[in-house]
Symmetry: C2
Subunit: 216 residues, 2 copies
DNA sequence: AGGCAATCGTGATGAAAATCGCATAATGGG
DNA sequence: CCCATTATGCGATTTTCATCACGATTGCCT
């Protein structure tokens, strides 16, 4: 199965994710087994050429006049993005945001299972959060090695972020999904994806305060 | 005060936000009133030239051999991004994620105040979430017009997203911070900022499954 | 069967973003 | 008081990303 593996860029990966979501659930009553690049593009507000380029980048070919096989696209994206090989993650910092993430069922559709949550707060340890027992961070390292965890979700306060990261790295974690507004320092073999939610405010505040001035 | 107003691009705005956060809290024991572009760049993992370009874009000038006045940078960014003119927002969908956002105190530092939350769930209406009473969405439109609300935070399930959006638009909302994984259709005078959290998974899953193959 | 219309693939083009290189300015030490 | 040092500012360059343009392919219709 000739899926090309030419180091996909971040934006391509994100668009592939969007294609996947659209095809696997997005289009309501659309029984057609085939889908055109224009249809995807319209729904997602992307240029059709872009869609074709992206699909081409993972080795998918469409047929003139017909389009692409929707199932084939889904299957290919699942394989390329790795949704087919479920991976387990630990979540550190079972606070407000951590709880929301743990409660979010849809992640499992993308292969992610949050298998344990850790916290330092004595009032939380031992109790259930989103159906899972919160554990003491003292047991974090051993849990990671014991269960061969590769991904950590970081939702602690900013102050604890780097310290926790160092422990995660020492325990052999391979990737971190960082929700704290900090740049984490990690060795080059550890991959960090930052999800800096509040950056959105820069754009929103800017637009709100300049709307009148800038005309639109 | 010569703050240039040349339509800043999204990435510039986001970096300005990061500079602001770094300067206003980030650097711990660093009493120097002056800061160099290299110092910012190091802390934030950005190219120093980029920092200078960004600061130049909002009319800030540094001094050779000295750098920039940290306070002046903060002040300028506050003005440009509009943190100094606090704005009020409504949150629609007081679920897990909505609760986390409402509980997040730091937003007020950037001028954002979530003044009310709305939901359709009878078990939530009337109760407190993060210290604020949840209201029925029936009262949404009137609340928006009555309090002159310009921004809405959208954290409903996907199915409700477009319907809620239409009502927000009809009520005269000017901007939407959208946390649902959907493309919202809005008239051109309404600004939408998407915060598609789960897109991060595309990159994470990809790296986790290809780490061994691709050699980092 | 043959032309028509829709759709794809891809090289060329253009726009945006990041980075480089170097002249210039300010500072502090000798 | 001058010079070496350390920053800046900005034009030039490179890289990345998105869009356009067009030839090729395929199914559909008559
Ligand atoms: N809540 C939001 O909407 C939001 C938005 C943007 C960014 N963030 C960021 O996400 C992070 C978490 O935010 P939150 O609102 O959930 O905060 P929170 O205070 O509700 O949760 C933090 C949790 O981390 C735990 N914790 C503290 N130190 C720890 C440690 N050393 N090891 C493990 N756990 C520890 C705390 O006990 C608490 O349960 C913060 O860094 C915040 O800046 C949150
Ligand atoms: N929780 C996460 O970590 C996470 C991550 C990524 C994306 N999201 C997205 O954020 C959104 C909210 O997620 P959540 O986990 O908080 O879900 P949730 O089910 O916990 O909360 C949704 C809330 O919206 C309310 N609601 C439903 N219909 C409504 C309507 N028409 N008007 C007003 N309120 C309505 C529900 O009563 C509920 O309280 C979803 O679209 C989800 O896809 C969440």
């Amino acid at each position: 199965m000739g899926l090309r593996v030419a180091r996909l860029r971040r934006l391509v990966l994100e668009r592939l994710m969007r294609y996947y979501r659209f095809l696997s659930e997005g289009r309501g009553r659309r029984p057609a087994p085939t889908v055109t690049s224009a249809e995807i593009a319209d729904a997602l507000d992307i240029d059709p050429t872009q869609v074709r380029k992206d699909l081409g980048a993972i080795g998918l070919l469409g047929m003139g006049r017909v389009g692409f096989d929707a199932c084939e696209i889904c299957r290919a994206i699942r394989i390329v993005l790795g949704f087919d090989q479920p991976y387990h993650a630990v979540l550190v910092g079972a606070g407000h945001l951590g709880t929301a993430l743990m409660a979010y069922a849809r992640f499992s559709q993308y292969g992610l299972n949050v298998s344990a949550a850790f916290d330092t707060d004595r009032r939380k340890i031992g109790h259930l959060v989103a159906g899972r027992r919160v554990r003491s961070t003292r047991t974090l390292a051993s849990y990671i090695t014991r269960h061969d965890i590769r991904l950590a979700i970081l939702t602690t306060p900013v102050e604890a972020a780097q310290k926790v990261t160092d422990r995660l790295v020492a325990a052999g974690i391979e990737a971190i999904w960082n929700f704290t507004p900090t740049r984490l320092t990690v060795p080059p073999n550890v991959f960090v994806r930052n999800e800096h939610i509040s950056l959105g405010l820069s754009e929103l505040a800017y637009h709100l305060t300049h709307l009148d001035v800038t005309r639109r």
